[in-house]
Symmetry: C2
Amino acid sequence: MSRLWIKEGSFITMASHQPEVLRGHMVVEDGVIQYIGENEPAASVQEQAVIINGQGLLFMPGLVNTHGHAPMSLLRGFSDDQKLQVWLQEKMWPMEAKYSEADTKAGSDLAIAEMLLSGTTTFVDMYDRMEQVAQASIDAGIRAFLARGMIGLGSVEEQVSKLEDAVAFAKQWNGAGEGRIQTMLAPHAPYTCPPAFIERIVQAAHDLDLPLHTHMSETSAEVQQNVDDYGKRPVDHLEELGFFTRPALLAHAVHLTDDEIAKLAQLDASISHNPISNLKLASGVARVPELLRAGVKLSLGTDSAASNNNLDLFQEIRAAALLHKGVSGDPTVVPAHTALALGTSMGAQAIWHNHIGTLETGKAADFIAINIDQPHFFPRTDLVSHLVYAANGRDVEHVWVAGKQLVKHRQLLTMDEEKIRSEAQASFERLLT
Amino acid sequence: MSRLWIKEGSFITMASHQPEVLRGHMVVEDGVIQYIGENEPAASVQEQAVIINGQGLLFMPGLVNTHGHAPMSLLRGFSDDQKLQVWLQEKMWPMEAKYSEADTKAGSDLAIAEMLLSGTTTFVDMYDRMEQVAQASIDAGIRAFLARGMIGLGSVEEQVSKLEDAVAFAKQWNGAGEGRIQTMLAPHAPYTCPPAFIERIVQAAHDLDLPLHTHMSETSAEVQQNVDDYGKRPVDHLEELGFFTRPALLAHAVHLTDDEIAKLAQLDASISHNPISNLKLASGVARVPELLRAGVKLSLGTDSAASNNNLDLFQEIRAAALLHKGVSGDPTVVPAHTALALGTSMGAQAIWHNHIGTLETGKAADFIAINIDQPHFFPRTDLVSHLVYAANGRDVEHVWVAGKQLVKHRQLLTMDEEKIRSEAQASFERLLT
C-alpha cells in the first residue's frame, strides 16, 4: 500500500458539496482519494504516509484536455496566420505524410511533456498513427483517451483497412496502463468520411461498446458543404447515420443553429470547445453561452500545438471565460467557476470519465498543485478567479496521476525533458529535408 | 563605466534592418546599447565587461504596457463577471475611496513586481494618487509614464484643485529617476469631464509641453451619451476641445466609425488597445485590423489587474493576435510579428518613447531574456511565433532596464517580493473592514 498525506493545503475540489476553497487535508491510498476534509486524518491513517507540506500551494483536480493531436506538436509554429485550408492541405498534410514512427513518438512525447508541465492529467487524442501516442502516454503515466482518426476520402478498400486498424488499436489498448488508457473510434469529420463509412464505424463502436469522437462544424464552409452534399446540416446528418446512438464527443461545433443546440442537449452529446484554435484559424466563435444554457455537455480542448500554439489548458479556460463575454456583450456569461469546471469536472463528465475531475473520496487521485505565492495570486480575494483570470500552466508546481507524482517542482519525473526537446528538434529538421 | 556583454544569444531586435532572429552579441555601456551584431565585439570592448552567457536564452526588447492603473492591483479578483458600471461604481470606487497612501503604495508595488517578473519594462499609469506610483517606480527601477487622472464630475473648484494637483505632479516628477519617469496630463474621459475642464487641461498640457492621456469610447453606451450630451461622437468632440493639438494617447477606443479611424490616423493620435479588459467587461472588440490598415499608432495595455486580472503583457500580445482573426474571419490579420511589435516597438512609438522598443545601437538597454529551453518553445520553427502564440510572462528569466538588471532568474533584485505580497494582503484586508 502507498499512502500520501497532503497536509494543510488549500483545495479547490470542484465538488458541489464542498466549500469552494477547502482548507485542510487530503489522503491518497493506492491511487485513490481516501479522505479530503478540514480535519486532520485519523492517527492510524497518518501512519506510514508520505507527507506533502501543502502550505503556499493550491491543490485542484488535474486538467482535462478533450481534443488534440499530440504528434502535431512537431509542427508548432511551422505555419501561422494562414487560412485553414492552406494551413491544413499545403502545410500540415505534406509534412505529416513524411512522419516516421520515431517522429510520431517524438511529437507525442513533446506534447505529453508540455501537457504534464502545465497541469493536464487527462487528454483526448485523435491521430492516424496512435500506437506511439499510447505507448508514450503509458511511459509518462498520463491518462489518455485515444482514437485512431479515419479520413475516408480514399477507396472503400482503404476505408476498410483504416477501420480495421482503428478497431485493432482500440481493442489492444483499451484499459492498458492499469486502466489509464481508454479508446474510442473516430471518423475524422462528416466532410472527410462518406455516410456509409461513418455507418460502418458506428456499427464497430456498437460491437466494441466504445464511444465515438469526430470533428464537426468547425467552419461555416464545411457546414455549407454538408448541406450541399447531403441536404442537411451536420447534426441531423450524423444523427441519421446513427452517430448519437453511441456516446459521442464532437470537437469544435462552432457553427450551430438553435435547433442543433437543442438537439445536441436532447441527444446527450458532448462538445470539446477549442476557443484558441477556432480564433487562430478564424473558424469563428462557438455559441458557448447558449450551449451552457441548453445543458449540453461542454468541455475544453487545445486542439494541436500547430493551431494554438501551445497545450496549456489554463489558456483555454481563460479564453472561454473572456471571449464569450466580449462577443455576447454580457459580462456575466461563463463566470470564473464555470470556466474552471469546463477544464476539470465538466471536462471529465464530457468524456464519461466519472472517476476523475473533482477531489472527492473515491475518485482517482489526479491532481495538481499551483504555486500561489506569487504576485499575480495576491491579494487572496478569490482563488477561483485567480486560477481562471491570472494563472497559467507555468504556475503548476506538482502533478499527480492516479496517485503517482509525475511532476515535482516543475521537473518531469517520468520523462527526460532535455532528450524530448532534442529529439523533437531533430525530427523537425529531418521532416524539412 | 559599466559594461555588459551578452555573449552568444539569440536576439529578436524588432529593428527592421536586422534579421528577424539575430544570433550574436550585444554590448551595453552605461545603460545604452553600444553594439549588437553577429560578430564578437572588439577585444577592447570585451575588456572589463560583465559577461552574460546567452545560450538557451532569447533576448528581446522589454515590453511596453501603455495603459493601466497600478494601485488597483489590490482589487484583483474582488469583483468579476459583472457589468462595467456595477463593477466600477458599486465595487471599485467604494473600495478605492478607502485607500490610504500606504494602500496606494502597496498596490503599486504589487503591480510593478508583477510587471517586471513578466517582462514589462515600461508602463503607462493613470490614477488619482500618483506620488506612490512614481516613488515605487523609481525604487524598483522600472520605466514609467505617469499621469494623475482627473474625473471632473465635481464643482469647478474641485476641478481646478485636481488640475493643480496634476500639474504639480507632472512638474515634480517629469524626468525623475534619471529620466525613467515621464509625465502626462490625463482627463479621465469625455464622459467624466465637462468640455471646459478638458480645454483647461489641454491648455495646461501646452504650457508644460506634455502629452495627454484619456479613456475614450470604451463602451457603446458612453459613445451614445457623448452624442446625446454634445451632439457628436468622442473623436470630433475631443478634436473640437483641442485635445489633438497635443500628442494624445487614447485608451480602449473600441467603438469607432470608419470616419473616426481615418481622422485618428490623420491626427496622429495613439491608441492603447486593451483586448482582455475589453472582453472581460464585455465592452466589445476594437477594430484593430482597420486601425492597423489606416496606420493609426497602436499599442497594447493590460488595464488594471481588477479588470484583466493580470498584468502579463504577453497575454495581451497573444489576445491581439488571436481575437481579431476569429472575429473578422480572416486568419491573416494581426500576424505574429505585428502582435509582437504592438507590445514592443510600436508600443514605444505610440508613447513617443523613441529611445526604447527595439534592440539597436544607441537605444536604451531595456531588454528581457526568455528561457526558451522548455517544451513549448520546440521545435525551433519560428521564434517570433513562439513568443506570440506559446510564451507567457512566466517564461521571462531576466529583465534589464536602462542597463540595470532588475530580475535575475525570476527573482526581483530591487524589490522584496515576499514583503510586497504580505503588504498587499494586509492592505486588502484593511480595505474590507
